[in-house]
C-alpha cells in the first residue's frame, strides 16, 4: 500500500490557515501523507517543495482574493520544471465567476466554503489513482 503524498500550501500574504489545516487533517485521517508548508509561500517555493517531496498532488488555499494570480503560477511553474504530472487543486473564498478561469489555467478542482471534507478526500483519492493507472 503506497500512501498518497499531498502538499498543502498557502501562497501569498494570507494568514488564514484554519481551512488548510482542517483539510490537511482530513487527508491524514484518510491515510495520506500530508506535507504542510505553512504560511506565506511564493509560487516558486511551492513548486520546489512539491518536486523535492515528490508529491502526487498539490492543494492551494487562498482566502485573500489573490487566487487568480497565484494559483496559475504554481501550475505554470510545475510545467516549466517538467512536473506537469503533479495535479493541482485549490480552495478558499473564491467567487463562482473565477472558477472557470482557474480550471482553464490547470487548477483541476476548486473547493469553496461549504464543501464537505468527504468530497475533497474522495476527489483527491480518485484523481491520484487515475494518474497512477
Amino acid at each position: 500500500m503506497t500512501p498518497i503524498r499531498v502538499l498543502i500550501a498557502k501562497p501569498g500574504l494570507d494568514g488564514h490557515d484554519r481551512g488548510a489545516k482542517v483539510v490537511s487533517r482530513a487527508l491524514r485521517d484518510a491515510g495520506m501523507e500530508v506535507i504542510y508548508t505553512g504560511l506565506r509561500q511564493s509560487p516558486e517555493q511551492i513548486v520546489l517543495a512539491a518536486i523535492q517531496e515528490d508529491v502526487d498532488i498539490v492543494g492551494l488555499s487562498c482566502l485573500s482574493g489573490a487566487h487568480n494570480s497565484l494559483f496559475p503560477k504554481v501550475v505554470e511553474g510545475l510545467r516549466a520544471k517538467g512536473a506537469e504530472d503533479i495535479v493541482v487543486f485549490g480552495g478558499g473564498v473564491i467567487p463562482d465567476a473565477d472558477i472557470p478561469g482557474l480550471i482553464a489555467a490547470g487548477i483541476e478542482a476548486v473547493f469553496t466554503p461549504g464543501t464537505s471534507l468527504e468530497e475533497i478526500v474522495s476527489w483527491v483519492r480518485k484523481r491520484v489513482q487515475k494518474n497512477h493507472e
Binding site: T37, Q45, I51
Partner: protein
C-alpha cells in the same frame, strides 16, 4: 539540475515504498564515502530540532550541498501523517545547495523510517556533502538514529523534569554532542549542571561536549558546528567512520527485513493470525528461524 532532483525524489519514494528493484539498485551504491558527514538530530517534541536543523543547514549550505531528511510520525489509526518540519525551513527551500525531504516513519518505532539508510545511499550518490536527519520527537528510548548517523546530536530543553531524568539510561547515552536549546529559559542552568555529568563520561574514547544554543536567534550555532566538525575529524581517524557505516548497513538490513515481515503480517486478518498462532505458532517461528539460518549461511559462504 531540476531534472536530476526530480529523479532523486522519485527514487527516494520507490525506496520508501519498499520497491524491490529500487532497494536492490540502492544497495549497489556505496555507503562508505568518507567525504560525507551524516548528522542526526534527536530530542523531545517541541525542543527546537527543526529550528536548530534550519540554522545548521543554512551555515553548511554556504559552501556545500546539504540534504535534510525530516522524519515525522504516522497515525497509528489511518497510517496517514502530517509532515510539518519544513515550516521551520522556509528560507532554505529555494537554496540550490539544499534538498529537503519529509518522511513518515510509517509505523516504524524508534524515531526513524526503516528505509533511511537506503535513502542515505541515494543522497551520497547524488553528491551531497552533509546529510542532516531529524528524527521524530523522541522520548527516552528512541535510539535508532545512533545506528544510522555518524554524529548524533541530542537536543534537550529546560524544565522537562528533575535531574533524575538526565540520570536515566537511553537517549542521553547516544549523544555524541549534547545540546541545551532554548538556553535563555529559566532552568537552563540546572539542566546544564545535570547534563554536565553525562557529558563528561567518555564513551569509546569520545567525550560528548555540551553546547548551549538559542536556535531561533542563531545563538551558539557556530560553536556547535565546530563541535560537529571536531567529531567528524575524530571519526575519520583509526577507521571509526567506516566502522559506523558498516553498522549502518547492518541496521539497514535489519530494519528492512522487519518492515517486510510487518507488511506481510498486516495483510493477514488479526483473527486468522491469532487462530493459527495458537495452533501452529511454534512451527511458524521455527520455520522463520530456519529461513534466517539458511540466509546467513549463504552470507558466510561468500
Amino acid at each position: 539540475m531540476s531534472d536530476e532532483l526530480r529523479q532523486l525524489a522519485k527514487a527516494i519514494s520507490k525506496v520508501e515504498n519498499l520497491d524491490f528493484q529500487a532497494l536492490a539498485d540502492a544497495a549497489t551504491l556505496p555507503l562508505d564515502s568518507a567525504a560525507v558527514h551524516v548528522i542526526g538530530v534527536t530530542g523531545p517534541p517541541g525542543g527546537g530540532k527543526s529550528t536548530l536543523c534550519n540554522q545548521l543547514i543554512k551555515e553548511l549550505a554556504v559552501h556545500h550541498r546539504v540534504a535534510a531528511l525530516l522524519v515525522d510520525p504516522s497515525s497509528p489509526f489511518s497510517g496517514g501523517a502530517i509532515l510539518g518540519d519544513r515550516i521551520r525551513m522556509q528560507a532554505l527551500v529555494s537554496n540550490p545547495n539544499v534538498y529537503i525531504r519529509s518522511l513518515s516513519n510509517r509505523g516504524n518505532v524508534g524515531g526513524v523510517a526503516s528505509s533511511l539508510v537506503s535513502i542515505l545511499r541515494l543522497l551520497m550518490h547524488n553528491g551531497f556533502r552533509y546529510i542532516v536527519i531529524e528524527t521524530i520527537g523522541a522520548g527516552q528510548s528512541e535510539v535508532k538514529i545512533a545506528s544510522i548517523a555518524d554524529t548524533t546530536l541530542v537536543v534537550s530543553v529546560p524544565n522537562l523534569g528533575d535531574d533524575i531524568q538526565a540520570f536515566k539510561s537511553g537517549i542521553l547515552e547516544i549523544a555524541d554532542i549534547l545540546i541545551i536549546n532554548k538556553a535563555d529559559l529559566p532552568g537552563a542552568d540546572s539542566l546544564y549542571s545535570a547534563l554536565r555529568e553525562s557529558a563528561q563520561n567518555p564513551r569509546l574514547g569520545w567525550t560528548p561536549p555540551l553546547c548551549q544554543t538559542i536556535a531561533t536567534e542563531g545563538t551558539g550555532i557556530s560553536a556547535l558546528l565546530e563541535e560537529i566538525h571536531n567529531h567528524g575529524h575524530w571519526l575519520r581517524q583509526e577507521g571509526r567512520l567506516l566502522e559506523k557505516r558498516k553498522r549502518a548497513a547492518k541496521f539497514e538490513f535489519l530494519e528492512l527485513s522487519r518492515m517486510l515481515l510487518q507488511k506481510h503480517l498486516d495483510a493477514v486478518p488479526a483473527e486468522v493470525l491469532a487462530r493459527n498462532l495458537n495452533r501452529k505458532g511454534i512451527n511458524l517461528l521455527q520455520k522463520l528461524n530456519k529461513v534466517y539460518d539458511e540466509l546467513l549461511n549463504t552470507f558466510s559462504e561468500v
